[in-house]
């Protein structure tokens, strides 16, 4: 294989693919990138077995061929090179990168051992704006657990129909749901699949303000085509049944409050310092014109703070794991966030006015689980203010 790239093209291609690699010792080739040169350009491919990334690079190809080389080393090399043309040649099991007067020789592994790009299957195809998909992922992926034995939770539920794309993620304590309308839909019926979160996180990073994404979903795979970047992601699907999330979202509420996002988040940050250790919980007391934010760690001390809000209903209290609230406030796009409460033990829903198609949900900590706190009655307050 002989191909010449601009350094910038090669660097951005490596940047787009190098995070979908695996350092697993069982298959060392997964830490490599695959170059596939044909007469008109070069495909750069990576995989961690769960997902694949492929980017088409502009290149002058003198000799077609396929080769793999370590992603991290390639990234380090190309980053270090001057801004000039980079020539890539292979000979036997060796790859040579030449730029200006710099020559690198690299060990390679045979491209035949690189996992094959899975065959395409028929399914449904939708087209959406990249910015829309980015918003959907931002509003949901925060709710995914870092690790969970329930494998279905390690992915996001993606539901596609002719007029709706909905993404949901949850760890059982918090949930994010967001939806949008596709600009185009091809295929028949509806699809509901679970896409691994790790791949979605990488896709989210590549999405920009411009351009569209074509999403093809079949029974075993999902393919994201970002045409403007000549970038394709393919991911396997997680097998299993996603929890019935609709039943968790309350249909009616007894309280609806407008909270200043940044001020409340700041108070939560302070309270977190002395939060109770077992549940990481802090207590929010809602009273006339203010929220009291309180934390008490029996080992370390306590904190009390107040944030002014527009509220004149009956006072009530809720306890939360501060991490979950942080996660929601971090992704909320508006300066004001609406909190909707049914009762102290029911999930609390947050929405933002600028994005009626997204909602965040957090399970409160039960008061009687906290030392020194009296159990609240089931209802948050009298009357129906929803």
């Amino acid at each position: 294989m002989k191909a010449t790239f601009s350094r910038q093209t090669l660097l951005s291609g490596i940047g787009l693919t190098q995070n979908i690699v695996s350092t697993s010792s069982t298959l060392p080739i997964l830490s490599n990138l695959l170059f596939e040169a044909d007469s008109s350009g070069v495909n750069l491919i990576s995989t961690d077995l769960e997902g694949f990334a492929k980017v088409r690079l502009e290149a002058t190809v003198a000799e077609a061929g396929r080769v793999t080389a370590p992603a991290k080393t390639l990234a380090d090399i190309v980053r270090s090179l001057p801004d000039d043309e980079v020539a890539l040649t292979t000979s036997g099991t060796r790859m040579t990168l030449t730029c200006n007067r710099n020559v690198f020789h690299l060990s390679t592994m045979t491209a035949d051992d690189f996992p094959e790009w899975p065959k395409s299957e028929s399914g449904v195809t939708i087209t959406i704006e990249q910015s829309d998909l980015r918003r959907l992922l931002r509003n949901t992926l925060f709710a995914m657990p870092g690790r969970d034995p329930r494998k279905v939770l390690m992915g996001a539920l993606v539901e596609v129909s002719a007029d709706r794309l909905t993404i949901v993620a949850t760890d059982g304590r918090k949930l994010g749901k967001a939806s949008t309308e596709p600009t185009e839909f091809k295929g028949e019926g509806e699809k509901s699949v679970i896409i691994p979160g790790r791949v979605l996180t990488e896709i989210e990073k590549s999405l920009g303000d411009q351009g569209e994404v074509k999403l093809e979903i079949s029974d075993q795979r999902a393919v994201f085509n970002l045409d403007n970047l000549k970038l394709t992601y393919l991911t396997s699907l997680i097998e299993g049944k996603f929890p019935q999330y609709q039943s968790v979202i309350p249909e009616t509420f007894t309280r609806e409050l407008q909270l200043p996002t940044a001020l409340v988040d700041d108070a939560i940050t302070r309270a977190a310092i002395l939060a109770e250790r077992k549940h990481h919980s802090i207590i929010l007391s809602f009273g006339s014109g203010m929220i009291g934010v309180r934390a008490q760690s029996f080992e370390d001390g306590s904190y009390e703070g107040e944030v002014g809000i527009d509220y004149d209903g009956e006072p009530f209290k809720l306890a939360f794991n501060y991490n979950y609230l942080h996660d929601v406030f971090r992704v909320a796009p508006d300066a004001t966030i609406t909190m909707m409460v049914k009762e102290s033990t029911a999930p609390v829903v947050f929405v933002c006015a600028s994005d009626a198609n997204s909602l965040y949900l957090v399970m409160p900590v039960r008061m009687h689980d906290l030392q020194g706190e009296e159990a609240e009655p089931a209802g948050v307050g009298a009357g129906d203010h929803a």
Binding site: T93, P149, K151, E239
Partner: protein
């Protein structure tokens, strides 16, 4: 100067064969071939049998057959990838890199994660656990969860010497296939072709290997056949030296071959031969050593020799339990001491 870089992965000898080249085990191979053909392969298969009988070789041939999806596994691209150890749909849990010699829960958790998504190139994802009896309790319980709700796109293959060493709950969820010893004529024909060694040497190895192709190959390729004289001399020392000689004999025996089971199986056969000569019953397997064996047997009680031979035979089966150098050394010292006691008459 540019470095020469070798990058092609070496082929693991256990993965070299496809079903058509497996020696013996015809019933098992036919059962598995038919099951794959009729898409009714059990989701978990435990291949059981003594060391060297061919569990891993057969298991890898099965893996190659599964990934070939009904096509010819001798030429299938996926099958070749299995042989090279680069197939993306195979996950191996073994104890090769484990200081404790155990398969630990992290490995089984990784296997569990591995099952979350559908296979990429093969009809099934395959988890290969060997030796399965080396799973520690936490790992075994973790595997049990996977076996209780097996994803439909996954096959789990285990190998073990003795199924009884597995949790009963694991055993009951696997199709247990016992591998019987290979018939001597099949083994001899195979060993002659595969090893390229002389007929006499091959015949001797077959007689010593008890129907186990792996053991036969180890014997024919190793130095143990030449070292039978040394082993005999060590046994003779036990007749005379008593306790004083135990540590020296055990130490020298341990250095003969890295596979302790091979050394012990030869020790057992030599003791059996000496007994046969002593009581005038049949031929010695080690015909070439008849004189030396007769010399050893002189003055020994047949009952003591029988007990010593039995001890050595049982010890062969025990060897997989001792996988650290210290425990192996201790095991050998105790064995040598007991064999010596029996020979001298307790």
């Amino acid at each position: 100067m540019t470095p020469a870089i070798a990058t092609a992965p070496e082929i693991d000898p256990d993965r070299k064969l496809t079903f058509d080249r497996i020696v013996g085990h015809r019933t098992t191979v036919e059962f598995l071939t038919q099951s794959i053909k009729e898409s009714r392969l059990p989701h978990a298969i435990a291949l059981a049998g003594p060391d060297g009988v061919g569990k891993k070789t057969l298991a890898w041939a099965l893996v190659r057959e599964i990934v070939s999806g009904g096509e010819d596994s001798t030429s299938h691209r996926g099958s070749a990838k299995v042989a090279r150890g680069t197939h993306p749909d195979i996950l191996v849990c073994d104890n090769s890199g484990s200081p404790s010699g155990q398969i630990v829960i992290e490995q089984i958790r990784e296997a569990d994660d591995f099952t979350a998504t559908s296979p990429l190139e093969s009809p099934k994802k395959i988890i290969f656990i060997s030796p399965a009896e080396r799973m520690n309790p936490a790992a075994a319980n973790c595997l049990l969860k996977l076996l209780e709700e097996p994803p439909r796109h996954v096959v789990i293959i285990l190998t073990c010497v003795e199924p009884a060493a597995l949790l009963p709950t694991i055993r009951s969820r696997c199709a247990v296939l016992r591998l019987e010893p290979v018939a001597p004529e099949d083994l001899e024909a195979w060993l002659l072709a595969e090893s390229g060694e002389a007929q006499s040497r091959v015949s001797l190895a077959v007689r010593l290997a008890e129907g186990r192709p792996g053991r036969a190959m180890a014997i024919v390729r190793g130095k143990l056949l030449e070292q039978r004289g040394s082993i005999l001399r060590e046994i003779s020392l036990l007749k005379t030296d008593g306790f004083a000689g135990i540590f020296g004999v055990a130490d020298r025996l341990s250095q003969l071959d890295k596979d302790m089971a091979s050394t012990l199986s030869i020790l057992a056969v030599l003791l059996r031969d000496a007994l046969a000569i002593r009581i005038g019953a049949g031929h010695a397997l080690n015909e070439d050593l008849t004189d030396e064996l007769a010399e050893l047997a002189a003055g020994l009680s047949p009952e003591g020799m029988l007990r010593a031979a039995t001890l050595a035979t049982e010890a062969v089966g025990e060897t997989p339990r001792y996988y650290t150098p210290q425990s192996r050394a201790h095991f050998l010292e105790v064995l040598v001491s007991r064999v010596g006691q029996e020979l001298r008459g307790r």
